[in-house]
Symmetry: C2
Subunit: 541 residues, 2 copies
């Protein structure tokens, strides 16, 4: 050996926070009226206590410990206590159906569950179906475990009170030791599990600290709106501890009003979430503006951001709004719509066209958009499937036969259809299954949706394929009007607006007005449901 074989472990981040950032703060909203405020010093002490308490309950290296919780300080304690002790943190998506929740806990073989007190009603009904769980630990400010509908439940705070704040974590773990896991919804069947390792999370965190990515740093005040049960809250909690950022965890409620209040009061500099959140925040800020002068970056992912939304933040509020691409299988950060040097001279419109892409691929990650001829040209036009590889990309689903559908020849096949711009920026045009194939041509439902959602009267829009005798498929637009335009909006004005932007073959054959777009548990459009709802629909000729 020539260089020290120091393993890449989350423990080094925790030790670093304890050593250098002990006076920095973490704010955690545990209810509508309660903010728990403490220092990193106390955070690390409590994290050691949690590890000690769980170890006394039987936690061992490799054991799965599930969390069923919102974004708060206790969840953050589990984020490090479990993996640093060598066990595996299974972050359960609380929005899954009861059937799926039971499945993922059983499939992961969770032996301990940490559950928010206000989420107990969602777990209690399925407790009898859980085959491997030995301990239920309830997190909350004042938990009366004996009154809960879960037998033998333990109180998180009572356990911590009796535990040792000097618990020491092993420093000789292999860096490929599993550290965390998340399940992702499948189009059909049960959710699929992804296992993260210490190495993958450490490298992903470093990538999030790069000046050319999100640039998380010590002076940041980070508020993750994206849930900690959703793709590691995009890695923000891990990176925040690594770099000593102040953290603001919004707890169970994140209405636009509450978020704006937190942004203002805590002088938040960096936040991240899905477009639906930012649509609401933008509207609220227009009506009841708060001071957002501290905000240096909003990161948006999960689904494409409509142009109007990006413009609202970047041009109207003067807050950089960076879109990105990622998925549970990719830790999740893969690409970000940063500006390259030559884009600094772009017009506002040109800049917005960069921001609505999914951006440039991060260091150490490879992306290729491929069709039957191999990698597609970087022309912003030729569509293909996005494939990804790199050290924080999964290479399998956890004990799942569906692995071979997505992982081939060392690449992850994402199921997303995209084009590559001339600068090498990824632009998602569709999911493979949502793509509209009309008369041999591919029509991007996402581009049509973005155009519709830029219309001043439209709140949301989803475009789906409907069967067509001649063209095989044709686009149908499903539109939710803004409340104030519900009665006045017309098909004709929307179609006319589209006709100015797209070739006539792309114009939807019809527009139907709906009350809301059905969504998945993580807020993505659930087009399969829409197609099902509208399967009897026939175009009026």
């Amino acid at each position: 050996m020539h260089m020290m074989d120091t393993p890449l472990l989350l423990t080094s981040f925790l030790n670093r926070a304890e050593r250098f950032f002990h006076s920095k703060k973490i704010y955690s909203r545990t209810s509508a009226t309660t903010i728990h405020e403490f220092t990193y010093k106390d955070y690390v002490k409590r994290t050691r206590r949690l590890a000690d308490a769980l170890t006394k309950l039987g936690m061992k290296q490799g054991m799965k410990v599930g969390t069923y919780a919102w974004n708060h300080h206790r969840h953050l304690e589990a984020y490090f206590a479990v993996p640093c002790a060598g066990a595996v943190l299974h972050m359960i998506n609380i929005r899954l159906s009861p059937e799926h929740i039971a499945y993922v806990i059983n499939h992961a073989e969770d032996e301990i569950l940490l559950i928010d007190d206000n989420l107990v009603p969602l777990i209690a009904p399925i407790v009898s179906q859980l085959k491997t769980v030995k301990h239920f630990i309830i997190m909350g400010d004042a938990v009366a475990v004996e009154t809960l509908p879960i037998p033998n439940a333990l109180s998180y705070e009572a356990l911590l009170a009796e535990a040792d704040e000097h618990f020491t974590f092993p420093e000789d773990l292999d860096e490929n030791t599993p550290a965390g896991m998340c399940y992702t919804s499948a189009t059909t069947g049960m959710p699929k599990g992804v296992v993260y390792t210490h190495r993958s999370i450490v490298l992903h965190s470093l990538a999030a600290g790069l000046a050319d990515s999100i640039a998380i740093c010590e002076s940041d005040v980070v508020l993750p709106v994206v849930p900690m049960f959703h793709a590691n809250a995009w890695g923000l909690p891990f990176a925040s501890v690594a770099f000593g950022s102040t953290q603001v965890l919004p707890g169970p409620m994140f209405t636009p009003q509450l978020l704006l209040e937190l942004f203002d009061v805590y002088k938040v500099t960096l936040t991240a979430g899905v477009p639906t959140i930012w649509l609401g925040v933008l509207q609220e800020q227009r009506q009841n503006p708060r001071d957002l002068s501290s905000m240096r970056l909003i990161v948006c992912g999960g689904s494409a951001s409509p142009l109007g939304l990006v413009r609202g933040f970047e041009q109207e509020l003067n807050i950089p709004y960076m879109t990105g691409y990622g998925m549970t299988e990719t830790s999740p950060l893969v690409s970000l719509s940063t500006y390259l040097t030559h884009m600094q001279d772009y017009t506002d419109d040109e800049k917005m066209n960069v921001r609505i892409t999914q951006g440039m691929t991060m260091p150490l990650i490879d992306t290729r958009i491929v069709n039957e001829n191999g990698e597609v040209p970087w022309d912003g036009k030729t569509m293909g499937e996005l494939t990804i590889r790199g050290p924080w990309i999964a290479n399998a689903y956890y004990q799942d036969e569906r692995t071979e559908e997505a992982f081939k020849d060392g690449w992850l096949y994402t199921g997303d259809i995209a084009v590559m711009t001339t600068d090498g920026y990824i632009k998602i045009t569709d999911r493979t299954k949502d793509l509209i194939k009309s008369g041999g041509e591919w029509i991007s439902s996402v581009e049509l949706e973005n155009a519709l959602m830029s219309h001043p009267k439209v709140f949301e829009a989803a475009v789906i394929a409907i069967p067509h005798e001649k063209w095989l498929e044709r686009p149908l637009a499903c539109v939710v009007a803004k409340p104030e335009f519900k009665d006045s909006i017309t098909k004709e004005e929307l179609l006319e607006s589209l006709q100015q932007q797209f070739h006539k073959t792309w114009i939807p054959d019809d527009i139907v007005f709906i009350d809301e777009v059905p969504k998945t548990s993580v807020g993505k459009f659930l087009k399969a449901k829409l197609r099902e709802d509208l399967k009897e629909y026939r175009i009026q000729v």
Copy 2:
């Protein structure tokens, strides 16, 4: 496996530059009047050609290929062509003595040498002593190999002209494969070799891109003054390729005047070098100012920066001047004097006191200052030896028995005496061997030197220990006056100035005026030489 086992290879940086940064520029000054300008696209092509040419000459995985060269584009080509092909780039310090040069080439067993045409006169006399070198390749714009005093020398450009620009690098190297090596001067005996791996260089490069470190990014224009034969030019060439920064390589000449011209003309944003360089640049800028408005950061290391120097850049020129700590054994970046959030409210003087420390330890790296009682308290006073560990820290000298002197219990013992500030910033007070032990108390020669060098009439100052009957050792100050004060400077005024800043036990017993401070091949004060020169000196009582 759960995550892809993608190795951390320099190849991923080269591929990334080719894919995304092909239009970005590299400027290389190959002589006083010649600037070679080309794109990353052509850079990568030439790098592939070089790898092909070397492979045809017999380069294999694991083979050592030496470079004996200044900072220019051909050296940068070798920086990637050799390691990406699986061979090892040995960057030879051109300032070593002929005896040491012959030693390091023989000890590393270099089989191919790449030599600057203007440095041939330094190598030619020792060619007959080189036991393993099979090919001498001469780098230059117009090389007539047949006229050179090295038999059978080959022309770099002629080899590239015949090579394949589509040469493909292996992508399945183990990330612990040796990639580069540098030798560092020893206090006694021959230089000691350090071997870097792909993994260590990749992680070090990511660290250099962090927002809280040097933050190298795509929009940077990077000019490394630190030589590419000195501790990897502090990693700047690797990181610049990784992040697609514009590069300006200054070639064989870097007078203050030429550097300032390059800073101005190419709008350099980031540069790095030793204090001696910056002293010269500051003086020249005061006399013949150039436009430095593009400069966002000067990184300084190698030895401590006097307060007056830091103040000159930060307060007078308004350019952030960040000191750091590193050594050949540490890749080299270990710590940087970044400002933490709570320091943003510091007064100018308090901020300068941060900048003259060696700064805060980087992520993934552990530092401890230890004495016989273990880690010293963080009080800014208690001295101990700086020890370091982490994934880009060496764990051995290359085939060298002196390994066990420096590497113990998983830590590198640096031989530097330091204190830790209350914020956890490292402040070097001395080399173990330069520390002055007076009557049981340790006196820091570095602090006295910094105080002297802040005096308006002083250019440089070195403080050494001289034997003393009662106190065992006492400090003696050796001072170089600024030319304009050579005749007017007095011992008395310097001593008076020191008396205002230090306890009387620290005040040097005498001051001698010298013409220059002897320096090592990398510009550090050579106090051993000074002690030798002054060994007959006795204090006049």
